[in-house]
């Protein structure tokens, strides 16, 4: 089937970038709608970036404010780094979705509402005193009132379904409108519906009809005077797919297992937003991947350590609360020096917090949240696609240095999507470690002179029977030791082993001038907003650079030099200044922080504004010849 022929030619306008937000009840299928638009835009060749935003409740009361689920997608003909600061178009399926999202829509923005949903009952649920469609409060926007439910039901006339069942397909009607508006082919979604509901032809038929009816509505009514074209982006040659951070993470671990020629064992306890990694890895049984849904977080890491002890690649993942439970076992892995990767897909808040919302506030937890000095390497990908590379990097370090490693992702990376240029297998790094088998030279805690990795022999190796455990080990022999000098030496050895990894990681790169007025330093998922803000400032002629840390322990060797090459260092974080504290403590640099912890990513404009403010204070200080040194006005 084709969607290319069209009776009348409406006006077409070319746009560089569009940001759409779909918002509705959590039962309205907004995540699915958003995902389908994303796939279509990705396959078309646009650069994309997405931000799903959904409540922790699976089905909050229908029509209520807490039940609103949203999905924002930005698609572009040029390279983009974020899902967009604000939507250009907001699709609101009910009053609650309008109320919770319209504040983000800039004046003049397009607002498409399902006018059928604006009943008195729904208005009450959304705590609207008057109907916003009639009280004039939506004047600043270009409003398109469409009776989506009625039109959709009409398009499904004759199908043997209840009204309620028919109403469940209205998200596809809305998607059809958006496909027409942005000149998108319906084919990928029609094929997806066929694939998904093929065994239930009535449902497949209804959803396909709804989609086509929405598209036809856009085409034939004169409600939209214009439709828009966003050309494919020039992403560079290669084969691409659309990928979320969790998908890329799971694929990276699969690749690491293949590269290291060791089977992967994944122990995990379900937790938002990490569970999708378990779901995906459990589908790789034909790769020899063993997944284990444990009775709790502690059992998950315990089993992973047990598997590593046996020579497999023991892996576990969780989010902050689960990492807290795993911390004693993580200390054991540090003590017995076994390879292990622990994934922390960070979410918002202490305790249960806001499980589906993003934050990057577990940095200090994973670095220091254990008894005693217990050093552990930490890596953190910056974008969803990069999750693949850093899953491999985490294992490269874990195996080479025979050590546990923490891999820090977050809810934004985990659920956000972007195009990923699929690498050639031959371009992937060589990783791995050989187990010790030589009886004559074996000592459990004898070390490689360069990496300080201990000699790792696995059960089953004849003649190398030995004991490990959480009690302090004597250097070389690994026997239990309470000797004071030995303990001091072992603490230093464990520390030095991790510190030396700095010799084996890339230097920190700066995007922009290598010295100048301002360095914006970030880590993790703030990458996109920082990069976009810095590029905007650079285009405005400001002396600003961006550097982004992927290795948080140890830091790259040149970090100190980079920090001191700028007059000011700004560190935006979705926490209350954790990297900032480390940088200030370790390098004695008077860096300043910029913190927003709202459960959502930074907007580009926020960082741009903060950077401008700092640059402004630098300029005024220079002009006033203020020799008072560090000014208090920076914060």
């Amino acid at each position: 089937m084709t969607t290319e022929t069209r009776p009348a030619e409406p006006e077409v306008r070319d746009l560089e970038r569009v940001t759409i937000r779909f918002a509705g009840d959590s039962g309205d299928g907004m995540q699915l709608t958003g995902t389908q638009f994303t796939r279509t835009a990705a396959v078309f060749g646009n650069d994309i970036s997405t931000l799903p935003d959904f409540p922790a409740e699976i089905r909050a009361p229908a029509g209520s404010l807490p039940g609103v689920s949203g999905f924002q997608i930005s698609f572009s003909s040029s390279d983009i780094h974020t899902p967009g600061d604000a939507p250009d178009v907001l699709v609101a399926m009910n009053p609650a979705a309008l109320k919770t999202n319209v504040g983000d829509l800039p004046p003049g923005g397009a607002l498409i509402v399902n006018s059928d949903a604006f009943t008195q009952q729904n208005l009450n649920k959304a705590a609207y005193a008057s109907n916003p469609l009639t009280d004039g409060s939506l004047k600043p926007y270009t409003v398109f009132e469409i009776p989506i439910s009625t039109l959709n039901e009409r398009s499904l006339e004759g199908l043997d379904m209840t009204s309620k069942q028919k109403d469940l397909t209205k998200n596809f009607f809305a998607l059809g409108i958006m496909f027409w508006l942005y000149e998108r082919s319906m084919d990928p979604t029609l094929a997806w519906i066929e694939d998904k509901f093929g065994k239930r032809p009535a449902i497949a038929d209804a959803n396909q009809r709804a989609l086509k009816a929405g598209y036809a509505f856009g085409e034939t009514t004169e409600i939209f005077h214009t439709h828009y074209r966003v050309a494919p982006a020039n992403l560079g040659p290669g084969t691409y797919r659309n990928i979320t951070g969790n998908e890329a993470t799971a694929l990276g671990f699969l690749a690491a297992s293949k590269l290291a020629h060791r089977p992967l064992f994944y122990g995990s306890y379900p937790i938002t937003p990490a569970s999708d990694i378990l779901h995906q890895l459990s589908g790789y049984k034909n790769f020899g991947v063993k997944t284990f849904q444990a009775e709790d977080e502690i059992a998950a890491i315990g089993a992973a350590i047990g598997a590593s002890y046996g020579g497999a690649m023991g892996l576990t993942a969780s989010s902050g609360p689960g990492i807290a439970l795993k911390s004693e076992a993580l200390g054991l892995a540090i003590m017995v020096e076994l390879p292990l990767v622990v994934v922390d897909v960070q979410r918002a808040g202490p305790s249960t917090g806001m499980p589906t919302k993003t934050e990057q506030a577990d940095l200090l937890q994973v670095l220091f949240g254990r008894n005693s000095d217990s050093p552990i390497p930490v890596v953190a990908p910056a974008t969803p696609a990069e999750c693949f590379d850093y899953a491999i990097e985490a294992w490269r370090i874990a195996l080479k240095y025979v050590t546990p490693v923490v891999y820090l992702s977050d809810a934004f990376l985990a659920t956000g999507a972007e195009p990923w240029r699929i690498p050639e297998l031959s371009d992937l790094p060589q990783i791995g470690v050989e187990n010790w088998t030589d009886k004559a030279t074996f000592q459990p805690y004898a070390r490689d002179p360069e990496t300080l990795a201990r000699r790792w022999a696995v059960p089953g190796t004849p003649g190398l029977e030995h004991r490990v455990g959480g009690l302090e080990k004597a250097d070389i022999t690994g026997n239990v030791s309470y000797d004071p000098e030995n303990h001091h030496r072992m603490q230093l050895l464990r520390h030095e082993k991790v510190a030396r990894i700095a010799n084996d990681i890339p230097a920190l790169e700066t995007h922009g001038p290598t010295s100048g007025d301002l360095l914006v330093l970030g880590w993790g998922s703030t990458y996109g907003a920082i990069r976009s803000a810095v590029e905007r400032l650079q285009a405005e002629g400001r002396s600003v650079a961006h550097a982004h840390l992927r290795h948080l322990n140890p830091f790259p060797r040149n970090l100190g030099d980079v920090l001191t090459s700028y007059r000011r260092v700004l560190i935006p974080e979705v926490n209350l200044g954790q990297l900032l504290m480390l940088i200030r403590a370790r390098y004695l640099v008077d860096a300043v922080g910029y913190d927003k912890v709202r459960g959502r990513p930074f907007r580009i404009a926020e960082i741009h504004e903060e950077a401008e403010r700092i640059l402004g204070s630098l300029a005024s200080r220079s002009s006033a010849s203020n020799i008072g040194g560090r000014a208090a006005d920076d914060r």
């Binding site: 494919p232 020629h261 122990g267 034909n286 315990g302 350590i305 590593s308 020579g311 497999a312 054991l332």
Partner: protein, 363 residues
């Protein structure tokens, strides 16, 4: 299978011994003795501790199973029992409090070729690690769990444990504990353990037989060893384990045999309604035919559960195997799924996985 695929499933870099394990025939070929299982570490339990006997019997039965030393792993938690792996000349892992079953689960899943023993105590297994005992048993992880039950916290110097008697006065409960004790065997049975047994530290021959049975069981084996802590809870089991009284106060279970005990072999267990009672053969017309016959292989564990609740002084204390039933092991079930996945879709192809879903190409 390609070399690469072979090495993917062989983390020992090809050091798999050719001979099959876990068979008495193999034990004949390997010909190990107790001495082979004694490590060079000095044993450091309190003089007179029941742990010495448990260690000795463990070392004695190890040659029975036909596993070479390097294929045996002892995993322990925290407590006095936790030190045992250091004294075994096998692979050993002294882990953290209560979590030994979790490491054993992962190890056995990753390495089905190994024989895995878990050494634990009443506090380690039933207090801090209760959850893991429960779940390792229900999964039928192929591990042999030996739980030293001395009804006290020894390593931390004498606090009440989950098996301490109600009202027991200890350092942490100076006027008596207000907690009702739990029965380890009942817990194991409730958790669907496929092998459940009890023995006593000083009954060396019975202890060896019990360990031997546990070692040959495929699946989760739970063995409670009544162990005397002569420092903090001396004589906890003396009333029925002492040589002079044990025949009258303990019931040695044997599969298929009537439940008879006593010096004169004239006492037995009869079932009245839903409750067991002690009867004397020859009194009130009671004959051997009136006694319960032990069946460790019963599909449902009613009988084993009843036995687990019997204790001195109301009843003789049952020792031996309460339950031993076949059930697929956790590691085998996992392997079967992997094999089925390969049979259905072929060996995994990384390139295909990377390129899965919708892709598009930019020239």
């Amino acid at each position: 299978m390609t070399d690469e695929a072979a090495s993917m499933t062989d983390p020992t870099n090809g050091h798999e011994p050719a001979q099959p394990a876990l068979s008495p025939e193999n034990a004949e070929i390997i010909k190990l003795t107790r001495k082979d299982f004694v490590s060079d570490q000095e044993v450091r339990w309190c003089p007179g501790c029941g742990d010495y006997s448990i260690l000795a019997q463990t070392q004695k039965v190890m040659p029975d199973f036909g596993y070479p030393k390097e294929k045996i792993v002892f995993i322990s938690g925290i407590g006095c029992s936790g030190r045992l792996p250091y004294y075994m000349n096998t692979y050993g892992f002294h882990t953290i409090h209560g979590r030994a079953p979790t490491l054993a689960t992962g190890l056995k899943a990753a390495r089905p070729d190994l024989m895995v023993w878990v050494i634990t105590g009443d506090g380690d297994a039933l207090s801090i690690g209760g959850n893991h005992v429960l779940h390792s048993m229900r999964r039928n992880v192929d591990l042999k769990m030996i739980m030293f039950n001395n009804r006290i916290y020894g390593l931390t110097k004498g606090q009440a444990s989950p098996t301490s008697e109600f009202g027991k006065r200890t350092k942490s409960t100076p006027v008596g504990t207000v907690d009702t004790p739990i029965v380890p065997l009942t817990i194991a049975l409730a958790a669907e353990a496929s092998f459940v047994a009890r023995s006593v530290d000083t009954h060396t021959e019975h202890l060896q037989q019990t360990f031997n049975r546990a070692g040959f069981h495929k699946g989760s084996a739970f063995v409670e060893v009544l162990q005397n802590c002569n420092i903090f809870n001396d004589g906890a089991f003396r009333d029925f384990t002492d040589r002079e009284v044990r025949e009258d106060r303990m019931l040695v279970l044997e599969h298929g045999k009537p439940m008879i005990f006593g010096k004169d072999r004239n006492k037995g267990i009869h079932l009245r309604g839903l409750h067991p009672e002690v009867v004397t053969i020859g009194e009130d017309g009671v004959t051997e035919a009136d006694l319960l016959v032990h069946d460790e292989q019963a599909e449902e564990p009613y009988l084993a559960l009843m036995l687990s609740r019997m204790f001195w002084p109301d009843f003789p204390v049952p020792v031996g195997v309460l339950r031993a039933v076949p059930r697929p092991t956790h590691d085998q079930l996992i392997e079967d799924q992997l094999t089925a996945a390969v049979a259905a879709g072929g060996e995994g192809d990384l390139e295909k996985a990377l390129f899965s879903g919708e892709t598009w190409t930019v020239e």
